[in-house]
Symmetry: C2
Subunit: 192 residues, 2 copies
């Protein structure tokens, strides 16, 4: 199918798929809108009409992978529900396939305020809302510490994962997620 015959959503999808393919092949630094346009068979301006920068395009491309997933299950075991969702999230974004691109994207957010804003509005914010909602239900069901600071939920649960992703750059494994969850649920302080 040539570009001329693809409609809007199919074209958008083709460009995002190409971005991920080329990004995996070349790495973020060498990835360019020009190369994506050539591989997707569209003009550069077709891409720039939709996305202001390489970072914005990569963000959308990565998020397109997760659109229908990353919802929290709701069983009677809130910790198991969190674990399941977080395992899914790291398998998607921190696995060998996309981790380098996701890391590069967060790196780009340190230089490009547009990418930082988009990352928060399109991914972090919605994920935080889901996390707070899941924990709020659990707190109302009497399953959590009654004065748990819900506004910190996302930072407490995700912070230790981003620390490993971005700072120590060690592998993000299910085991690590489980240890973090265990430690957060138990708390550092001595139980009376």
């Amino acid at each position: 199918m040539t570009a001329a015959r693809r409609n809007g959503p199919a074209l958008t999808e083709a460009i995002m798929r190409t971005t991920l393919e080329l990004g995996q092949e070349l790495g973020y630094a060498k990835l360019s809108i020009e190369a994506i346009a050539a591989r997707a068979g569209v003009g550069k301006h077709t891409i720039y009409r939709r996305w202001p920068s390489k970072g914005a395009l990569l963000l959308d491309s990565l998020l397109s992978l997760s659109e229908s997933t990353l919802d929290y299950p709701h069983t009677d075991d809130v910790k198991a529900d969190l674990r399941r969702q977080i395992h899914e999230a790291i398998d998607l974004l921190a696995g060998p396939k996309f981790r380098p691109l996701f890391q590069a994207l967060v790196g780009e957010a340190q230089h490009d305020p547009g990418v930082a804003t988009a990352l928060n509005e399109r991914f972090i914010g919605p994920q935080a809302d889901k996390t707070v909602a899941r924990l709020e239900t659990a707190r109302n069901e009497g399953l959590l510490s009654p004065d748990f600071d819900l506004d910190l939920a996302m930072a407490l649960l995700s912070g230790p994962l981003y620390f490993r992703l971005l700072i120590t750059q060690e592998p993000l494994t299910h085991t690590y997620v489980d240890r973090v969850l265990d430690a957060l649920f138990a708390g550092i302080g001595k139980r009376p």
Copy 2:
């Protein structure tokens, strides 16, 4: 004093001071070894002999600010000791003066493995050692949960701060640190 008359340590110090000054003026993206050399009155090669990249030079320059500080006090209140050290660390690296440069440095670590390695070997690793040592003492004194996972100490304490620094990019305040410490000590789980 001209460059020719400065000895090794004084020259190194002058270059690092210039790096921070120029970095604050220009921002990381526009900062260049060339401009630093010109301002410091040395040749580019003098800088490249000591540092392989702009990122490596910025890392050393930022760390030179903190070399004699960031030790944990040891009173009988471990939470207060952690709070004091963390307040000092964020005042230094996440205050208005150096935050943009520190963020840019971590951004650079996502693209440059040399910067990532140096960041861990020179800053994160030593800080983690101090944190584990302080918490281990407290655990031995019976002040912490006896099965607290010490290897996670740095990720649990720092992760939520880096999350705000790098992801949501909100201000890092003392109040935020205090809320994080309170939440980590109490834990998410319901006390039996």
